[in-house]
Amino acid sequence: MLLELADVEVSYGAIPALRGVRLEVAEGEIVTLLGANGAGKTTTLRSISGLLRPRRGEIYLDGRPLSSIPAHTLVGLGVSHVPEGRRVFAGMTVRENLLMGAYHDRRHVREGTERVFTLFPRLAERASQLGGTLSGGEQQMLAIGRALMSRPRLMLLDEPSMGLAPRIIQTIFEVIVEINRAGVAVLLVEQNAVQALRIAHRGYVLENGQVALTGSGADLLADDRVRQAYLGEDIPTG
């Protein structure tokens, strides 16, 4: 298994945020992690990246426990994280932001930059502009492009569609599928449940720091509880 979370518990001070999360991502999969605000989705991704340390349980990458691995070395193991709110370096140009993505390994900067510019031609036009001056959509493209620069095997995406216009969301989701087709496994956190489940092979629904439901994308899309809770549909009872 590429990524495995085994009964992971994480808390902020004394307040628990994850209460025994079990989750797996296999090579080549798109897995989506759904859940209401505050369910623990961001906490899950930050724990995988080593920014937070589980109080209990273990996270495995290729079967190797991550608890003793420094967070900054994770990108070298093939994990790249597109954080919530994009977090592009506002004072760096588009090109410099991409270079940051290749910080741990500078050997493939040119091909990497070419590839990102092919994927997102808008970024090529703005190559010398500061990250902070880009629109929300462009910043999201840059954050994804930056994450691609490290040639990941597993990409963690935290609400990439947040606050974007539908047309841009469409582009972002198409690119996620394309990245996955090129062999990158994706763990996609989304509020946008329908679209996420349409492209995902499998999904998990997180509630109060626990996995409440799991299944294939199609099964979850058809599940009454999912439709009710996340798609805002009224299901007739009785």
Partner: protein
């Protein structure tokens, strides 16, 4: 003679002192950038560098006449190098002893300030004990005299050495921050430390190297300062406060801001000291600071390290 007659001379003198303020100010601004911490013990890094350079120059100095030519160049270079090395070592130890343990325990802001003041008092008194409490001159490493004139202003060998060395350091640092991988890491940590980690930046390593770079600059700057104004155990205080002022003036955390702030402060002091009275120098410097901060609270160039490169 009036101000107009003296203008160029005051400019040359102001640039010389200002370039040293700039060199020291970079240490404050770089550390602030990566840690949001004012390293109040930086002035002692400067002082220890000055003594290191001074002892090296003194030890290498052959007896007899004032050296000249290649010997002078070698001695100044040795003083700069040893001063820089001592400054770097002092900054490294400071970070390890006074700050890192606090960071490990996620200590509150106030703890860092107290730790900095403690480290500073320790270093000052250790230097007072070991090196004496009087002024210690740097021996003459070259014959100082007027090298040339600019618009009637005399430019001495000393000025050329100090200003030249300082400008080289400023340019190198600017290039380092803008162009190298380490510089990119420093800027990334300054802008968003968590995201820097996600990019593979080893934040602890960047922090310690930032202290070392600031120490290299302050140590070499200390030696240059001592060549002009002598060394003493408490020599760090006034230039330290001035350099800190320069960093705030330019926008703390901003590399080019610190350089601009240092040069401006040197010039303003030089002009102001002449127009009013030399003893008003410091008053004028701080009035300028207060005035500029009232209009631009984040300093002349703003606060972001990344924007500076």
């Amino acid at each position: 003679m009036g101000f107009a007659d003296q203008f160029w001379q005051l400019t040359v003198d102001g640039l010389m002192v200002g370039s040293l303020y700039a060199v020291i100010a970079l240490g404050y601004t770089l550390v602030y950038g990566v840690l949001q911490l004012i390293n109040f013990a930086h002035s002692e890094v400067f002082m220890l560098g000055a003594f290191g350079g001074l002892f090296a120059a003194r030890g290498l100095l052959p007896g007899g006449a004032t050296p000249s030519g290649p010997a002078s160049v070698g001695l100044v270079a040795a003083g700069l190098a040893v001063g820089a090395a001592c400054g770097a070592a002092a900054a490294f130890i400071l970070e390890r002893v006074a700050y890192r343990p606090l960071r490990r325990r996620s200590a509150p802001r106030l703890a860092y300030l107290i730790s900095a003041i403690g480290a500073s008092l320790f270093a000052v008194n250790l230097a007072g004990k070991e090196f004496g409490r009087q002024n210690v001159p740097v021996p003459d490493l070259f014959t100082n005299g007027t090298l040339f004139h600019v618009f009637g202003a005399q430019v001495s060998t000393q000025t050329v050495v100090v200003l030249g060395a300082a400008v080289v350091m400023l340019v190198l640092l600017d290039r380092l921050v803008a162009r190298t991988r380490l510089g990119q890491g420093i800027r990334a940590v300054a802008q968003d430390a968590d995201t820097a980690v996600l990019m593979g930046v080893n934040v602890e390593r960047v922090i310690i190297l930032t202290f070392v770079i600031g120490g290299l600059l302050a140590g070499a700057g200390g030696f240059l300062y001592a060549m002009t104004f002598n060394a003493s155990y408490n020599m760090g205080f006034v230039p330290g406060v001035k350099a800190f002022t320069a960093a705030v003036l330019g926008g703390i955390g901003n590399v080019r801001g610190a350089m601009l702030g240092g040069i401006l402060l040197g010039l303003v002091e030089s002009y102001g000291g002449y127009v009013f009275q030399a003893s008003y120098k410091d008053v004028i410097a701080f009035l300028v600071l207060v005035g500029i901060l009232m209009v631009r609270p984040s300093g002349l160039l703003g606060v972001r390290l990344g924007r500076a490169a």
